[in-house]
Symmetry: C2
Subunit: 265 residues, 2 copies
């Protein structure tokens, strides 16, 4: 994980301000191109960009399998490596859909319900009943933290990780954008042929929003766990997608918002 | 602030799982239309939607003044109020630009530096030298928290607030999206004719990203304070925009990342 050193002023009440060198979480734009056409510019933490691009195209429903990705390469004219070209194999790309917001609306009927239906038109609900022990979920935050190399240094990064249903860490990624961290772990799975993650747990370091749960549905992840609160629409989507959603997984406690039947207390 | 009640399972290690009613931070899509054309769909916490729409159009550089907004109304065919129409007065709208990512790139030269230059082509750097006491910044988080009605209930919302340079609270808004919370406080300023906020402080409850600082530049806010860490690009943009950026404003401590000359220790 690259970090960025900068001179800051540190101050505590009653003391003199001190000039010190500090590390920042790096944020840079990434433009994702498909067959040389721009489809997305996202602010991200540089690193694992191929995974981010693959994960983004996968969670947007554009690609479904490893073999559809012919190659991913840096744009030769961007020396900073902030433009990435994904060449696809036998995929008819609806560019109009991609450059619009994906789960956008007809002009009547825009609501959470319609948004969930739009997700389900693309990704079916999840039926697997594989159980997970509640104790296993409690052990994940400590594993996530210890795997987050950069977190201790900058305090500025979201993390996402995939664990086996038994609690074994498969992959962890960090990013200034929570959705990017999730795209990176799922892109890792796609590029290494590990998908679907259908006996797995997705853990995120912060809150669980609609977008996080939607990406989990795309990768067939049955259990999503978050250290903070989920939103109403995240709970609704998880519930209607047959997923287990746990929140406030901290210390010796957790809340289960949907799919309680998978949890062994 | 609306909240959403749901039945959850609460569990602490060694105890029996309990079924309880809990409140969730509400998340619903909002489609923003300009003169009946869709320009954006964002996931947001319902409430203060007119401010969100006005703030979004303002921070994207599409409108600059209150009088350019003719009226804002709900789409009559969306009963849930999730489609908002902004009618503009004498503004030539570049829809192609809006439906692309705004600070997107030419295909060579995409980097943080170019992104900052793109912001500065639209919004000039800030020259005001109005001072702020460090003690004033330390007092803001407690004010922000006590003003956040919903926060204690759900733990799931970002907050943004505008304070006077003396530390008086002007407006606070919450949202599941941090950028939405900022658009709401700036939209409040625009719709009430309070802009520019050029002797003010923008405080955010979490991290400070590039996007947050960019929105502050649009509203001419000279001081941005965050409870958590800023990103590298946030610091760079603040520095090149002549803004003061403070982070980790917690308890009796804070860090200053740029524009230290405004702070009176």
């Amino acid at each position: 994980m690259k970090a960025n050193k900068t001179q800051i002023t540190r101050w505590a009440q009653g003391a003199q301000p001190l000039s010190q060198l500090d590390e920042l979480a790096e944020e840079e734009p990434l433009e994702i191109q498909v067959d040389t056409r721009s489809v997305c510019v996202t602010m991200r933490t540089p690193g694992h960009d191929e995974e981010l691009a693959a994960g983004f195209l996968f969670t947007e429903g554009l690609i479904t399998e490893r073999r559809q990705v012919l190659k991913i390469q840096r744009h030769p004219r961007n020396e900073l490596g902030n433009v990435l070209n994904v060449f696809l194999n036998g995929v008819a790309v609806d560019f109009a859909q991609l450059t619009r917001h994906v789960f956008a609306s007809s002009s009547c009927g825009l609501c959470g319900k319609a948004t969930i239906q739009a997700v389900h038109r693309r990704f079916k609900p999840i039926r697997t009943k594989w159980p997970v022990r509640a104790e296993t979920l409690l052990a994940l935050p400590a594993q996530l933290r210890s795997a987050q190399e950069a977190f201790g240094r900058t305090g500025g990064l979201h993390a996402a990780a995939i664990f086996s249903s038994g609690g074994k860490l498969i992959v962890v990624r960090e990013d200034v954008g929570r959705h990017n961290a999730v795209d990176k772990v799922l892109g890792y799975g796609l590029l290494r042929g590990l998908l679907p993650f259908n006996r797995h747990i997705l853990m995120v370091s912060g809150r669980a929003s609609f977008e996080i749960v939607q990406k989990a549905v795309a990768a067939r992840v049955p259990v999503v766990a978050a250290i903070s609160a989920p939103s109403s629409l995240a709970v609704q989507l998880a519930s209607e997608s047959g997923q287990t959603l746990a929140g406030f997984v901290r210390g010796d406690r957790l809340n289960v918002y949907s799919g309680r039947e998978r949890i062994r207390f």
